[in-house]
Every structure is written in structure tokens, then in C-alpha cells.
């Protein structure tokens, strides 16, 4: 008597359905769910913008104070075509971006260096940690006024504010990272034959680096805040100045339009940072 051939995985049946069939059904359901989520997202956007537009046109809310999507759109188009009162729109974006990136780089390097030095030297850290804690508890944006007076209306004051915002975040992370460089890893490196310098470069710094990279996103966001707020307080160019000029002229559309430009810049930088993180932190477990 011949035994029946064993069914292959794809056609093995249980309660009348083969595995392949069940998988097809499940995947179709996943696609449908995905389409539903996207549709609902678009719907929410349409309702929100549409409702705003309607409310403005029918004067349920005063468009002078609250503006409308159509007016904001026109403002952005106008800025693109005819430039802002300060110069071309993209120039404003570039100035703010330049201040942000410069502030971020300087603040990050300073934060890393101080974090490593204080992390390795217990005496220095005991002495200075009190002052750092005090400096950290002052809302840093108020230093912006000091910088405008000291450094003028040019880029320097905005960069300085961005540096200060970034420094404390990166410093805290680098400091932690150095302190927490697992003492077992350090002992392991020593027993494997590493000199003191090799221990620093191959255990302490990579460990601190991982903490620093983890704070990249947050610190870049702070740098952007520093640059824009600095521009509020006094400047000749930049998105922050666009916002404060529009505010002064009671141009609600202008304020919203500048906000949108800022949001686009922030999202673009966020995307780039995420890509960078993914490359540099690929050794990290997914939970991080």
C-alpha cells in the first residue's frame, strides 16, 4: 500500500485552508488596514484645513487674527516669487540654517570635550558640577539678550545662543557616557593588553560617543530654537526675523507662513539626522 505523499508547506491544509491561502488573506487584510489609515489621515487634514478655510471665509473666526490656508499659501507663493522684505526667502532659510549648524557643531564639540575631561577627572567634576547645575537651571534663552548686546545683530549672537543651548545637552550626555563606560569593558581592555591611551580611545570614547549620538536629535532641535529665538531678539536676516516682522505688522498669514517654512526645514534636517544615526549606531540593539 502506498502512503500518501507528504503535503508541502504551501499546500498543507488545516480546516480546509492551505497555509498559502491563509497568508494571502492575512496580507490582503494588512494592505487594506494600511490604506484605511492613510485615507483617514488625508480626511483629517482635509477637514482641519477645510474647516479653517470655511471658518475664515464665513467670518466665524476673524481672518485678520487667525488667517486662512488660502491666504497663507498666497503669502508663501508671494515670498517665493517676490522675496521677503529682507531679501529672497531661500536666503532667510539659509541664514537660519547656517546659524543652526554652526552653533550645533561648536556646542557639540565643546560639550564632548568638557564631558570627557570632567568625566575622567573626579576632582574637576566635583568642583564644577555645582556651577554647571546652576547655569543649566537658568532658562538659557534669556542669555539671548546678553549676546545681542555683546555681539550685535549679525550671525554671531545667534550662533552663540545656539552654542549655549546645545552645549549643556551634549555635555550632560558625554559626561554620563564617560562615567558609565562599563568598568568591565575597561578591565577587559586592560587585560587584553590595552595601554591607558588605548583604553581611552577604544573604550571610553566610543562609549561616550554612543550617548552623544543618542542626543543628536534633541541637541539639533535646541540649536534651531537658539538660532530662531536669537533672531527674534534682534537680527538682520533669518526666518525668526520673518516671524517677528510679520508679528509687528499684524500679518497673521506671514507668521503662519514662516512657521510652515521653519517646519519644513526642521523636518528635512530631522530626516537627515535619522539617516546619519542609523548608519553610525547600527551596532545598537533595536530598543535604543
Amino acid at each position: 500500500m502506498t502512503s500518501p505523499a507528504k503535503p508541502s508547506h504551501a499546500t498543507a491544509t488545516l480546516d480546509g485552508k492551505s497555509l498559502a491561502e491563509v497568508e494571502r488573506l492575512a496580507q490582503r487584510r494588512i494592505r487594506q488596514r494600511h490604506a484605511l489609515v492613510i485615507t483617514l489621515r488625508i480626511l483629517v487634514l482635509v477637514v482641519a484645513l477645510g474647516g479653517w478655510e470655511l471658518a475664515g471665509r464665513n467670518k466665524w473666526i476673524d481672518p485678520f487674527f487667525f488667517s486662512m490656508p488660502s491666504l497663507i499659501f498666497l503669502q508663501i507663493v508671494d515670498w517665493f516669487q517676490n522675496g521677503t522684505s529682507q531679501g529672497p526667502l531661500l536666503l532667510q532659510v539659509w541664514v537660519t540654517l547656517e546659524e543652526t549648524i554652526l552653533g550645533f557643531l561648536i556646542g557639540a564639540v565643546a560639550g564632548v570635550v568638557c564631558g570627557i575631561v570632567l568625566g575622567r577627572n573626579k576632582l574637576l567634576s566635583d568642583v564644577f558640577s555645582l556651577y554647571i547645575k546652576i547655569a543649566n537651571s537658568i532658562p538659557r534663552v534669556v542669555l539671548g539678550s546678553v549676546f545681542v548686546i555683546a555681539l550685535g545683530l549679525g550671525m554671531a549672537s545667534k550662533v552663540a545662543l545656539a552654542v549655549v543651548m546645545v552645549f549643556f545637552v551634549v555635555f550632560a550626555n558625554a559626561f554620563q557616557g564617560v562615567r558609565e563606560a562599563d568598568r568591565y569593558m575597561i578591565a577587559n581592555a586592560q587585560i587584553l593588553g590595552a595601554s591607558r591611551r588605548q583604553v581611552t580611545t577604544s573604550v571610553v570614547i566610543p562609549s561616550a560617543l554612543s550617548w552623544i549620538l543618542a542626543s543628536l536629535h534633541v541637541s539639533f532641535g535646541f540649536a534651531l530654537v537658539g538660532a530662531v529665538v536669537g533672531e527674534f531678539l534682534g537680527s538682520k536676516q533669518g526666518i525668526g526675523l520673518l516671524i517677528s516682522t510679520a508679528q509687528g505688522a499684524f500679518n497673521a498669514s506671514g507668521v503662519f507662513a514662516a512657521m510652515i517654512v521653519l517646519a519644513v526645514v526642521a523636518l528635512a534636517m530631522d530626516y537627515l539626522l535619522t539617516a546619519l544615526e542609523k548608519r553610525l549606531l547600527k551596532w545598537r540593539p533595536a530598543a535604543f
Binding site: 562599563d182 577587559n188 593588553g193 590595552a194 595601554s195 577604544s202 562609549s207 551596532w283 540593539p285
Partner: protein
Amino acid sequence: MKQTPNLNAAPAIEFRSVSCRFVSPDGKATIALRDFSMSVAQGEFVAIVGPTGCGKSTTLSMITGLLKPTSGDVRVMGEPVDGIDPRIGFVFQADAVFPWRSVLDNVAAGPLFRGRSKSAAYDEANEWLRRVGLANFGKHYPHQLSGGMRKRVALAQTFINKPEILLMDEPFSALDMQTRTLMQDELLQLWGGTGSVVFVTHDLEEAIALADSVFVLTARPATLKKVYEIDLPRPRVTSEIRYHPRFVEISRDIWHDLREEVQIA
């Protein structure tokens, strides 16, 4: 095959009346070891067991030179311990492989630190990865491996330096039972009978299965209570040796001694 321990040469490790006193950061003083003497011959596999917290790991730190005794004398190969001896290898309980380096880079770390050329170091690293069965995982990162595989990376990382003395601080206690048994067999294979091993564990059966002698420590402040010679034949298969009648006898004797100390601690 295992070579018989060389009892005529200087002992690989010797503790002479060693005492060790700790002062904690908030100023409390405790004595971890008191008048502790022991000797490990070259080529001997020694297991150290004792109640938790008695100071087993402290003895290992003193052999590496990372910790200095308060009084007494620690000697390695007849010479007093002075700084980190390159002939010593250490396997930790916790994961001490570098998570930001690939598996291959981790294994090559020892030779690279010690000044070998890159090509020589990586050739040896590849060879060791093959020996521990991770030849296809060179480019992976430690977090992508299971606990047992990470332990094998740690073993390769240690063995690549050809240590004459291997110190192990409860290396397998973080692994599940099945993986632990596999690792014990791998360890015996990699050790091959040359070089001395000091294996600290709280698992008595692991100690008897692996070692030539088992040293039983008292509760804190620790001193050497008794040395048991394990006369089980080699080569051993750890999963089977525990059913050997002599194993059961030895196990009962040592546990009798150990239980007294565990109850004091």
C-alpha cells in the same frame, strides 16, 4: 589529551597568607580575605567555590594585579604580581565584549592592542572564530547574537592571546542550563589541557565536572577551607560525567562542607 600538572616547576599561581581589606566609598571597612593561602600548579584546572559574596572574585582581581592585597604575597609563575601580566586571560560574568565593534573586530582586539600587525591579527581572529563555530558571524554585532554566541566571542577574544593562565569569573552563570552545558564542553576542548585555569563558580556540579581540584572557601572573611582532588578520568563529557558514581560521591562530600559555609553566610 591533558598533560599531568607539572608539580616540579614553580606554581602558576601562589597566594601566601593574603589578606584583603576594602574601604567602601562611604567609609566602611570590611575584610574580604583573611590569611588566604593557595597554590595552583602549571597545567592544572582549579575551580573555586564558596558562599555568595565570600570573596571569590576578589582572588581573581588580585591575580590580575587590578587589586593589591593588604598583606601577604601573590605570585604568578614564581614572580610577585606587578601590574597586568600579559600571560593572563580573563573571562567575565557580564558581557565585556565591545558592543560597538563587530565580532571579528572584538576577537582581533587583543593582538591589535599588543602591537601585532593588522593582517596577522585578523588572520588569527578568523581562525579563532572558526574554532568557536562563529565563522559566518564575523561581520555581526554582539547585540545580534544570542547569549551563548556572545560568550563564545568572549572566549575567542581571550584565547587568541594564548594565555598561560586563564581566569574565569562565573562565566556561564548568566546562560540557560542547556547553553551552559554546551559551553562547558567547548571550554574543555579549547583549553585542551595546557595552561592553568582558575574557574570561580557557585555551581558545585559545574566545578566538579570541569576541574582537577576544587577549592572550597569559607564565608567572609574568606580563607581556604579544603582542597578536593577530582580523580575523574579525562577527557570528560560534562553532560554525562555527572552520572559517574564517583562524581556523585565527591559532590556529596563537597556539598557537606559548602553547606556549612552557606549557612553561616
